[in-house]
Subunit: 208 residues, 2 copies
Amino acid sequence: MPRKPAEQTVQPDAILKAAATVFYRRGYHGATMADIAAEVNLTAGSLYHHFPSKEDLLCAVLDRGLAQITRDVRAVVDGGAPSADKLRAIAHIHVLSEIEHSNIAAAVIFEGRALLDVPGVRDQYVRQRDTLEALYRRVVEDGIAAGDFRPLDVGIFVKALFGALNWVSLWYREGGRLTGAQIAAEIAATFLAALQPPPAEGGDFPPC
Amino acid sequence: MPRKPAEQTVQPDAILKAAATVFYRRGYHGATMADIAAEVNLTAGSLYHHFPSKEDLLCAVLDRGLAQITRDVRAVVDGGAPSADKLRAIAHIHVLSEIEHSNIAAAVIFEGRALLDVPGVRDQYVRQRDTLEALYRRVVEDGIAAGDFRPLDVGIFVKALFGALNWVSLWYREGGRLTGAQIAAEIAATFLAALQPPPAEGGDFPPC
DNA sequence: TGGTTAATCAAATGTACATTTGATTATACG
DNA sequence: CGTATAATCAAATGTACATTTGATTAACCA
């Protein structure tokens, strides 16, 4: 049974990256199959040998993007570092995912809305996104429980952090004033400052 | 010269509001003229008596949305309140604009990208957006200069604040746990906490 | 009352896709 | 070598719009 074909074959991986880039650049409805195909030197029709439809392509991009960032973030959250370090690491992963990994994460962030019409798919997407958000929330809650962070409305705090991090993909330009790592560090510092507990009263050492 | 026609006439204002809502809901490319028309009980063709094209409609929405929020924010920034109060007021305006004023602001925020192809229009949009961002920046810079806020990277801080505020339109649901005003207050509190200067050393009163 | 015009509609028109179809090429394996 | 198959392409096909067109309606004003 003859099988493997050409060397000039395009990897499905490359198609996903191309699709992510184009979805991010033009939005789901604005992106054409020809745009995506051109990105990997194919014609529009050829894409259908790899994915059954444009919608499936978006689903695959979202699925893979969310899985990737969730995996990386989970590794940090499950580790034993102090909460502040975890938050810094998460910001780093999040920002770098947006600006480096072929914009897959960026497509995830902004094109999820295009799925609002397809209930089955949408639920899957929402579930994955909530999973990711829950990881962020856990870091903050653990930090509060440990006394490293001041108590606050964790729900809003995490949404704000998400927003700040996601927004990076809208304004980041390669070769700008700061690198992705520096941006992540600065954002993490901002949110960590907001989490700083008030100076301890009645601690081990009397204040005066 | 006979003029004014029917009572059943649709105001251009109503069309802009409808367009903003639909653009926000479906994205620029995903929105159809029929969708927008239906929102004000018209047929697609009738919209062309009020706006020359779909693109003009988007421009008008963006222009008006940005002008509105900029006007409101400018009034606060030009006022004499303490910087912290200004920041709280701005957050309030920003969030309420997103979730109340017919989603015009929300459309502004997320559909600006659809204009990336139309250079003339795009520049106008970018200029207006930068104007708004400059107002936010001024509040933070003034606060730092006055010693109310700790010094930090104002560029990143403002982008983070923008992101956190803009993100609200993606997750806010009417009848949720918090009102828009409460959300704005919580976000403002978070960012103000991040701006808090370290306890003064060598102040008027000696520390012990 | 009637002419002028704004506002609307229903029905074209044209185009830009997503998707299909029917070759064509090139590989791997026997 | 030869044949089955993966991967591709160029050229249909069909549809979903944006926009146009040609009435129709109803107000205003003289």
